[in-house]
């Protein structure tokens, strides 16, 4: 007996369609998952089995095999739990699941459905491929609705599905728990920054034209303070930018549960000892976005970025080019765009605008500049 359920995952920042096939055959009772799943996916065996039994369904006492297609794509995470449960339950009853319905969600042992990462990117991709109904965790409904006009049904517990299938009870399409959006970054008002008129003007020009900006100066000159004033002078994101920012936040797990569209440009302040891979992204089987990507919009901001080697040699590429493609990961995370950096003086790179923060002195006559000449 066989049943299929449509699902998906993220690879880098892009949604990928994954078909979950469940087969129940005679043989020794067991539960196998094939299709290059990682550890979290192998552990889904326990989650799915127990969740099914705790929700009023019966896990089949026969040989259950799950295949995740395409089989050669490395898959990770727990987002296939719901699709697996739906496929297994329906395979047991020899019932077909509609081919244009997508299933996303992680299961808890009691059968409740937990939020997953990357819902927006997956739903957007499956929507383009023709999916016409989405079953997602209740906490991801708001996010999924951004990406599709098709019905998005929030599932809080497997029992709701049982009632839906067996008694025809409608799934609630309206449950959205609006979570509080993340507070805007503590923005410094330019009016509170003493002096540095030249750097303030550079900030304004860079913000107006989305130019790269590099602040150079000795410790304490005010580079970071000025960088922190950036969010306060930026215009709000337009719809397309907001969707991109929300999708990235969702993929890296920074979107609060229940949140919808993020409307503020991200501001990242990585530690100055950050590794190259953490800065521009990288990874093994599946690429992971770095800080550059997390700061993505047309005009992101990173403060305190290292411009010393080796991070700077990785940094060299994202500044002039719109897309970063580490050589080993052709399909890598689209670590896009440039950034603004506040940085120490030993900077080997060039930006369109390099504003020199002068050391402050009471009358500015002793102001010293540390620009390399």
């Amino acid at each position: 007996m066989l049943a299929r359920a449509l699902s998906g995952t993220v690879f880098g920042l892009d949604g990928v369609r994954v078909e979950v096939e469940a087969d129940i055959a005679d043989g020794l009772p067991g539960f196998h998952i094939v299709g290059l799943g990682d550890r979290a996916l192998q552990e889904a065996r326990e989650r799915v089995k127990i969740a099914i039994n705790n929700s009023g369904f019966q896990f089949p006492g026969r040989k259950v095999t799950i295949n995740l297609a395409p089989a050669q794509l490395p898959k990770e995470g727990s987002g296939f739990d719901l699709a697996m449960a739906a496929a297994i339950v329906n395979a047991g009853e020899d019932r077909d699941l509609p081919g244009d319905a997508a299933w996303l969600g992680e299961l808890a042992l009691d059968g409740s459905v937990r939020a997953i990462r990357g819902t927006l990117a997956i739903v957007a991709h499956l929507d383009r491929l023709g999916a016409r109904r989405f079953y997602v965790p209740t906490a991801n409904v708001a996010e999924a609705r951004i990406a599709t006009a098709a019905p998005v049904l929030g599932i809080g517990h497997l029992r709701q599905l049982k009632a839906h299938w067996e008694a025809g009870e409608p799934l609630d399409a309206s449950v959205v728990s609006e979570a509080a959006l993340p507070a805007p970054p503590p923005s410094v008002d330019l009016g509170e920054v003493a002096g540095q008129p030249h750097a303030k003007r550079a900030l304004e020009v860079a913000a107006a034209g989305a130019h790269h900006l590099l602040l150079v100066g000795p410790p304490g000159a005010g580079k970071t303070l000025l960088a922190r004033a950036l969010p306060g002078i930026l215009p709000p994101l337009n719809r397309r930018e907001a969707v991109e920012v929300t999708s990235i936040a969702s993929c890296v797990g920074m979107l609060p549960a229940g949140a919808g569209l993020l409307e503020l440009p991200p501001f990242r302040a990585p530690h100055h000892t950050i590794s190259p891979a953490a800065l521009v992204g990288g990874g093994g089987a599946a690429p992971r976005p770095g800080e550059v990507t997390r700061a993505h919009t047309r005009w992101p901001a990173l403060a305190g970025t290292p411009f010393c080697r080796p991070a700077s040699s990785w940094w060299r590429r994202p500044i002039p080019a719109p897309v970063v493609l580490p050589a080993t990961l052709a399909e890598s995370a689209n670590a896009r765009r440039s950034s603004d950096s506040a940085t120490g003086p030993d900077c080997p790179d060039r930006s369109a605008i390099a504003s020199i923060c002068r050391s402050w002195s009471p009358d500015n006559r002793r102001a010293s500049s540390c620009a390399r000449t």
């Binding site: 009016g191 003493a194 107006a208 130019h211 930026l234 060039r350 390099a354 504003s355």
Partner: protein
């Protein structure tokens, strides 16, 4: 330091930034902002007046600017012109853009 605290607030600066962005979007409704304009786009969007042209050429020669560097200066100059609601890029805009270069 206290004397300097009467500086312009972020809200006032933001208003000018929003205005400059609006002018860029009017010029290219779906295109890039000034920071990402390509060479051909710059030729169309950033017409230099005679004095500006002379200054840019002189600077390019004196400072030995590469082609990429000239475009970078021109992009910044275009933005400065947008902030001052000027359709063409004038000498003063080029001059200000040049001084934002990290060296020279």
């Amino acid at each position: 330091m206290r004397a300097n605290l009467s500086a312009e607030t972020s809200a006032a600066v933001r208003e000018r930034v929003v205005g400059a962005r609006r002018r860029q979007q009017e010029r290219r409704p779906h295109g890039p902002l000034n920071g990402a304009l390509t060479g051909p786009q710059l030729r169309r969007d950033a017409p230099l007046d005679a004095a500006g042209q002379t200054l840019l050429e002189t600077a390019a020669e004196r400072l030995q600017l590469s082609g990429r560097a000239v475009h970078r200066v021109l992009r910044v100059a275009r933005t400065i012109a947008d902030l001052e609601t000027s359709t063409s890029v004038e000498q003063a805009h080029v001059a200000e853009a040049l001084q934002y270069r990290e060296s020279g």
